[in-house]
């Protein structure tokens, strides 16, 4: 068998770092899907040519340093307040693309008022909601999205829904709000689903560009470290444990979004 060696000058770049993604080591744990989510957001920003007009609002949580991992303007919100901060930015800079990147503790617990009212006002911002059913940065405590009976450091016997309530289904909740025009849930547990997530992020940014209203992409994500699993088992757990409780789907696609194509 002979192997054709292609001279390097004839090689084609088929996979590279998006311009919107900074050339930095992240502080994320091995197997964490934040890195995948970051890459998808960066690819979408690049594909739409938005890098020089994007402002990223980072949350409090594992992705607190998100502004270090993108090459766009960025700021750091107080815990849960990213949608309010993004509102302030967008209202005075309506020509910019404003993205909040928030985890489930940040968005679904302490920041639930801010996200609901940003959606209710139809703020023309895009929220990337990373749901991994746990507080990651503080070391694995129960989140509003923690599954029934899921063990965490603050629900050591498993989440007892009789005393702590049932997990909040954010996409379903926000889809009820008129101002929210694009609300979908995707997953990052395998290649097929990652590609679908990318497509949703692209659509969400196009919705903002078109000024249609509030958009949110929920991404089911992993936390191998605090779940106490290998990265591969964590991916499997997203599919077998999280997806039945948090079904993937399009929870709100307003007519105006359909018309975008």
């Amino acid at each position: 068998m002979t192997i054709d060696i292609i001279p390097i000058e004839h090689m084609q770049v088929v996979y590279d770092r998006p311009e919107a993604l900074a050339c930095n080591h992240t502080h994320y744990c091995p197997g964490c899907t934040h890195s995948i989510a970051h890459r998808l957001v960066a690819e979408a920003i690049d594909e739409l040519g938005l890098r020089e007009q994007t402002i990223l609002v980072a949350p409090v949580g594992c992705s607190v340093f998100a502004y270090n991992y993108f090459t766009v303007d960025g700021c750091e919100a107080a815990h849960g307040r990213a949608p309010a901060m993004a509102t302030g930015i967008k209202r005075v800079s309506p020509d910019k693309t404003v993205i909040t990147y928030q985890g489930d503790g940040d968005l679904a617990s302490i920041g639930i008022a801010e996200i609901i009212h940003a959606a209710a006002r139809g703020e023309k911002i895009t929220t990337i909601f990373v749901n991994n059913a746990i507080y990651g940065m503080t070391g694995g405590q129960m989140a509003p999205t923690t599954l029934p009976n899921q063990k965490t450091t603050s629900s050591p016997s498993g989440r007892d829904i009789a005393s702590t309530g049932a997990p909040l289904k954010i996409s379903e909740l926000l889809a009820q709000i008129d101002g929210a025009v694009y609300v979908v849930r995707r997953s990052l547990h395998d290649v097929k689903h990652i590609r679908q997530a990318k497509k949703a992020i692209l659509t969400a940014l196009k919705v903002q560009q078109a000024g249609l209203g509030f958009g949110l992409v929920e991404l089911l994500s992993t936390c191998p470290t605090n779940w106490g699993m290998t990265p591969v088992d964590a991916m499997h757990w997203v599919e077998t444990a999280m997806m039945p409780y948090f079904p993937l789907g399009d929870y709100k696609i307003a007519d105006s979004v359909h018309k975008l194509g």
């Binding site: 890098r51 766009v72 930015i89």
Partner: protein, 355 residues
């Protein structure tokens, strides 16, 4: 510009417009609500940004966002609302972005009441949020001064990239009196080069208050303290009356300072050598001038509409060189000039004995 009858809250709002305020975010609370109501029509009429937030928590974070985007921005509230804003104020101070906050103070603690009070002196000057910082705090004693200080507030906020709080009390916010508004300033200011405007043809800008490394956090704090030291050295402001030969010095700010002025005039009519020192900046506290006056008077009488808060700064300024006495009313009660005159007469006699 002609003098016109203006309500304090409305005067502050229109002054903010003329100072070049590009965006206002607020939440209704008595006794400042007229300010928000006025902005809701005036800002929209001018094509500027007005938004009623879902809470004071959201309002201050909208202010934070707009400030990061590089515009002149303001919110207004009253005591319980300012408590809710403290988180955001701390982040704003930690990010060194400019903004103007109006606190039309009411009675507390808790829900308290909606009557005029100065019981948030500590809150606005010393504990506006977690971490080592002080906002610049301006205390108007008339509607005219509320207008002038609003104009000044935007200038100082931009100059120092810092929070400026206009600490009015409910009386200043609610009363009407003749005042003159300044002309409209050039609008809008260009966005500063540090602002978040998109990394278009430049490196990205990042605005954060997060420094995980101890040395970096300390270096930031040193920079912040250096700025506050500069503010303390050049921004102290105060007004005074009949201090030249005063033996008893009354010290009061805002509404209490204004009523003390009437009482001091009454005392002078009776031949008592009494003067008034009225701090206009509560932070920086005008300690330079007060410490000079402390060398010539026998006693200070601090008058506040609280249980005694500014008195601590007065004591620090006079450094135990003379007695510092206190008279305060609380709960929304406002001291009357004749009431203060009786207090002045009592302490005047006492200071004569001491002297």
């Amino acid at each position: 510009m002609a003098r016109e009858m203006l309500k304090g809250n409305v005067a502050i709002a229109e002054a903010a417009v003329r100072a070049g305020c590009e965006a206002y975010f607020g939440y209704p609370i008595t006794p400042q609500t007229e300010l928000l109501e006025y902005m809701s029509s005036r800002m929209v009429e001018l094509g500027r940004v007005f938004l009623q937030a879902e809470s004071e928590v959201a309002a201050i974070n909208m202010v934070y966002g707009a400030a990061c985007a590089g515009v002149q921005v303001m919110t207004s509230s009253s005591s319980p609302g300012i408590s809710l804003m403290q988180e955001g104020l701390s982040y704003i101070a930690g990010s060194e972005v400019p903004c103007v906050i109006v606190d039309v103070m009411r009675g507390g603690p808790g829900l308290g009441n909606i009557l005029p009070s100065q019981s948030d002196y500590f809150q606005v000057t010393k504990s506006a949020g977690h971490g080592d910082f002080h906002p610049i705090v301006l205390a108007p004693a008339s509607v005219q001064e509320a207008i002038d200080f609003t104009m000044l507030a935007f200038e100082l906020a931009q100059k120092y990239r810092h929070i400026v709080i206009i600490a009015a009390d409910g009386q200043i916010g609610q009363m009407m009196e003749p005042a003159e508004l300044p002309p409209m300033k050039d609008y809008p200011l260009p966005r500063p080069n540090w602002a978040l405007t998109g990394a278009n043809g430049r490196e990205k800008n990042v605005i954060t208050s997060l420094y995980l490394n101890a040395d970096e956090e300390e270096a930031f704090n040193n920079r912040l303290q250096k700025k506050l030291a500069l503010i303390r050295s050049v921004e102290q402001r105060s007004d005074e009356f009949a201090t030249d030969d005063a033996e008893l010095l009354v010290v009061g700010y805002g509404t209490a300072g204004r009523i003390a002025m009437s009482a001091v005039q009454l005392a002078r009519e009776k031949g008592l050598k009494v003067g008034l020192f009225r701090p206009q900046t509560l932070y920086p506290f005008p300690e330079q001038r007060l410490s000079e006056l402390a060398e010539q008077v026998d006693m200070c009488l601090v008058v506040e509409m609280n249980a005694g808060q500014m008195i601590e700064d007065v004591r620090l300024a006079v450094k135990d060189s003379i007695p510092v006495e206190f008279y305060g009313r609380m709960g929304g009660n406002i001291p009357m000039p004749d009431e203060l005159l009786r207090v002045i007469e009592r302490y005047y006699a006492y200071s004569a004995v001491l002297a």
